[in-house]
Symmetry: C2
Subunit: 416 residues, 2 copies
């Protein structure tokens, strides 16, 4: 009942939120940033409760680090909200307007989606980010954060609501679901009467559960089994720098490289050089027979199983497959990738274009690291997630992904 | 098992279909048009079986008419496919390409969705239309037509496959599900492993069932409870012509008007004039108390119940509500509409703009009939359906709605 009420409240105010002008929305965002800093003490106190539970529950150190809030981190959250205020507001723009033979003038106008539901992991900074992105695009946000961050999230949302209240905007423009149990998540997924789109951010299990159960249109933000194909004409220095960067700069992210595909013509020369660089960074290699033959009897190299080709390690591990041709490389990548980010390293024009044409993924690179798949790196200023599905939005999603359109038609009495 | 195999086959050839050039696709479409005419006899023979069953099953006359195929109608189908060949191919265009500060060149390229599933009613002409639209956009089509048209559909798809075969293109670019039982439809809805998008076309019940059960992303093509609001400053002649057209030009379509909202200031003058025109066309009026008072004791006028406000009659019936103001009109329409097409009749500038801004629907009209909500009328050349949801596509969907995008990134060794 509680979830239904909360969704219904958002639904009831969505047209008022949609009507806010850019100036009004920016004022709320700047006030929210200030309020976050003013309320730092209360937010940190709530976060302490979450951190205490995390320690008691033996949460892994990496996750504890993402959960922790400090004065500096709250300042970063506030700065993130301010940056969103500085972005151009897409709402209300008319993308095209065409005159029909009968005189009708038909325009395509950018409008908010309405009510956006976001399910995410235990990272409290996402709470203010999602609020900022949704409000800037005239949407109401229904947030379901990780249960480990619930106290922090409630404190942050209370703070954001103060900024709405101060500006006489609907406080139901943002809500957090306080009961983080699995049943309530299922209940949320059935609220298609009130919610226009649901964005799950998190692991494979969560995303599959949402896809299987949601009656609300879903934007899948997916896992990344990202490949780098080293072509026979690759510049080895570029290839090694890019692979090192894509694998080791940050291992726990979806745009990290998880699998290498190497052309046979250069495998025996390239792989030993790459091996030295990767093993210096403590990377373990899971390789096929051909690659094994090129590397010889060395440490940190293991036989790959079928499972390795489909694996998103999120760890200091990478799989290596040797292929006869670019055709075999493309076939392998299109079979095992997750539609996220794939790269070719080559100096050959035709094979670069072929790879760009034929690889089926959100982002396809020539001679650059897969780590660039990111809203900020793409110049969107902010990101609500990275879509790995094909409808509505694909790749990093900025403000535009949080909008819909409506046709506005100016007539002077036309009938059919 | 059969459905899974059929979906898998489409999945396996989708990259080959995506690679077809515009010239190759157009050649297939022109050959398919010719083949339809060549195979007219076989298609009409299959259609005779469906028609015989339809008569035996007492199918309503209107539906029988939509099911019937004649030589002329097959010629129209062929002409429809030829027209699709003449449309611009959106696939492969790069919509924007921006240089980032680090030198990366990031482009957004239009690509096919992949495998498109379409569930539709017993109208065999839709079979060739959907094939044409999907092939033109490099997609594979999995068709589930109404069971009453199954023999006609199988004959048409066999004919389309001949055109594919003749051009050495994958014949699995189009498939029809021969078993039209409900269980098979449920099975189809779970094929998210192979199908990229599912488009249900049909009644409320079908669409709700797909939304509730599909694990494939769905584009809802919806019912239309379309309103016309007659403002106090309306030109009565325009208003009456538009209402007559929107209600009676074709009653069984989703863009027909189903409900009138009349400003109180003009109700007593306007309604009697409108009444004469509508009742001449045999339209029954379901009216509120205010409207009843304006009309007096006349035939063909009934008291509206709460149910009438939400009703898509698809019949010679219309509901009528009198309101105090445009604000009340907008509130009423946003509450009861189905997000399809809504119109205001007014000569007042500010209220026209307010209506365009605040009505939440795919298409919002000033001084024109809601009947224009149609891909051809909008200049798209063809239409796969009319979306009433907000993600991916909203309103009439042409070729563009059958595409996705991918980012292509040209680098020269960039790392993060």
């Amino acid at each position: 009942m509680e979830i239904k009420n909360l969704c219904k409240k958002a639904f009831e105010v969505k047209h008022d939120v949609a009507k806010l002008t850019t100036n009004e929305k920016n004022k709320i965002l700047m006030d929210a940033a200030e309020q976050l800093i003013e309320d730092s003490e209360a937010i940190i106190a709530a976060n302490k409760v979450d951190m205490k539970n995390a320690v008691e529950n033996n949460m892994p150190q990496g996750l504890q680090d993402r959960l922790l809030l400090t004065v500096e981190r709250i300042e970063d959250m506030a700065e993130g909200v301010r940056q969103i205020a500085n972005l151009d507001d897409p709402i209300g723009n008319v993308l095209s307007m065409n005159k029909r033979p009968n005189g009708l003038l038909i325009g395509k106008k950018v409008v908010p989606l309405g009510v956006v539901g976001v399910i995410y992991e235990a990272r409290p900074n996402v709470t203010s980010d999602v609020f900022g992105l949704c409000l800037k695009t005239g949407n109401c946000a229904i947030l379901k954060g990780g249960k480990d961050a619930i106290n922090s999230n409630i404190a942050i949302v209370n703070c954001l609501k103060k900024a709405l209240l101060k500006n006489e905007a609907p406080i139901d423009a943002v809500s957090i679901i306080e009961d983080t149990s699995r049943e309530k998540t299922y209940e949320l997924m059935k609220m298609n009467q009130y919610i226009d789109v649901l964005i799950p951010r998190g692991g494979k299990g969560l995303i599959k559960s949402v896809v299987d159960n949601s009656t609300i249109p879903v934007i899948e933000t997916g896992t990344g089994n990202c490949h780098i194909y080293v072509d026979e004409s690759a510049d080895f220095d570029k290839a090694i720098a890019i692979i090192e960067n894509a694998k080791t700069q940050r291992i726990g992210v979806c745009n990290a490289a998880e699998s290498l595909v190497i052309n046979k013509k250069i495998a025996s020369e390239f792989l030993p050089r790459l091996y030295t660089v990767l093993t210096n960074k403590k990377v373990k290699l899971y390789v096929d027979e051909e690659a094994m033959a090129c590397l010889g009897d060395v440490t940190s190299v293991y036989e790959a199983t079928e499972e390795d080709w489909g694996m998103e390690y999120l760890d200091y591990k990478i799989s290596v497959k040797v292929v006869e041709s670019i055709e075999e490389a493309i076939k392998h990548i299109n079979r095992y990738n997750t539609g996220h980010s794939e790269a070719i390293i080559t100096e050959n024009y035709s094979r670069a274009q072929k790879f760009l044409d034929e690889i089926d993924a959100a982002c396809v690179y020539v001679n650059a690291s897969t780590r660039f798949t990111d809203g900020n790196e793409f110049g969107f200023g902010a990101e609500i997630g990275i879509s790995t599905q094909k409808i509505h939005a694909r790749g990093p999603m900025g403000l535009e992904a949080l909008t819909s359109s409506k046709y506005i038609i100016y007539g002077n009495g036309q009938i059919r």
